[in-house]
């Protein structure tokens, strides 16, 4: 199999380039892309990429594989390789630090903007803040996000306005706390989002939904936020 991998070391390279490597894939196994990266690193130890849990839980190895974002560790060759060729690039739209390692600062800054923690100004009860099973159910499909950035870096609106548009990952978390029955800062949260960029730069093209490795739906969450903003303003 031919693997074409994005290489850039700012200390030695003037510009990024694609390195083509012919790789012998062991027969009878369906490897994950992360396994392929490990094989590549055996051949060329200078290749840099992030990985940690290698089972789709930590969200470190978000990559662009044959044009589609996903986690290298849970994307099998059988689902991504076309015509015996695999092109691996870093997540699009973020500055490259080296090879497949991107600088996620701007992504985290947008995440920080939505205050991704419970805000509650009432006195804490002795043990814990209780929630009914129905209220808890509202957080399903929201809390599972692992912040791998596959969604936000597949979103053209985030590419054009990464410092103004919060992006699908941040907005999914914004709604996660707007929907939480224990949170008392709904009005403050909504007030921060009512500008033409933070939420409304979403054009609903659903790239985020098609790439999310956890099967989440940020477009639906953004729709819910928009409805809350409309109810608040009309």
């Amino acid at each position: 199999m031919l693997v074409s991998v994005y290489r850039y070391n700012p200390e030695t390279d003037n510009a990024p380039y694609m390195q083509d490597i012919d790789l012998e894939i062991p027969a009878g196994k369906d490897l994950m892309v992360l396994d392929v990266l490990a094989l590549l690193k055996e051949k060329d130890p200078s290749l840099a990429y992030r990985r940690s849990c290698r089972e789709g839980v930590c969200g470190s190895d978000g990559l662009n594989m044959n044009g589609k974002n996903g986690l290298g560790c849970v994307t099998s060759l059988s689902e991504v390789v076309k015509k015996d060729k695999l092109v691996i690039r870093p997540l699009p739209g973020l500055p490259v630090i080296r090879d497949l390692v991107v600088d996620m600062t701007i992504f985290y800054r947008q995440y920080e903007k939505v205050s991704p923690f419970l805000l509650n100004d009432t006195a804490p009860p002795a043990i814990e803040r209780l929630q009914s099973p129905e209220d808890r159910e509202k957080l399903d499909g929201l809390y599972e996000c692992i912040l791998c950035a596959c969604c936000s870096t597949s979103c053209p609106s985030f590419w054009w306005n990464p410092e103004k548009f919060i992006g699908p990952a941040g907005l999914l978390q914004a709604y996660r706390f707007l929907a939480d029955s224990r949170d008392t800062a709904k009005e403050e949260r909504l007030a921060k989002l009512d500008d033409p960029f933070s939420v409304f730069r979403c054009r609903g093209i659903m790239n985020c939904v098609s790439v999310c490795p956890k099967g989440l739906n940020p477009t639906r969450a953004i729709g819910h936020i928009r409805n809350l903003l409309l109810q608040r303003a009309t």
Partner: protein
């Protein structure tokens, strides 16, 4: 909160609403005009008779204002996506605004003038 002074309504939800409402008005106007052209024989007389009625002038003015607002929201969005330098972006937005203003005033003159 991202601040912005060049968009139509300062607020995201306002622009979003204007875009939707104006789209409905434009769609109704287009369907009506299309229906008129199909159902009647379009001559100078039938056309000027249509435009001499107050309700149709009001409908046309509504469509014209909707077009101006719709185009402003849309073009503002496109320029903020694709024109990165603030100076040229502002100039393009000002040019779009001026053209839309001319169209609206000119349209009012055509509709209500002699």
């Amino acid at each position: 909160m991202v601040s912005s002074v060049t968009n139509l309504g300062r607020s995201g939800v306002y622009d979003w609403m204007v875009q939707r409402v104006s789209a409905y008005v434009l769609a109704l106007y287009t369907i009506f005009l299309f229906g008129f052209m199909v159902m009647t024989d379009v001559t100078y007389d039938s056309w000027s008779a249509l435009f001499s009625q107050t309700w149709f002038r009001i409908f046309s003015l509504m469509a014209l204002l909707s077009l101006g607002a719709h185009a402003w929201v849309g073009l503002w969005t496109i320029t903020t996506d694709y024109v990165k330098a603030a100076g040229p972006r502002f100039l393009i937005q000002a040019l779009c605004g001026a053209i839309m203003f001319v169209y609206v005033v000119w349209g009012v003159q055509i509709l209500w003038g002699n």
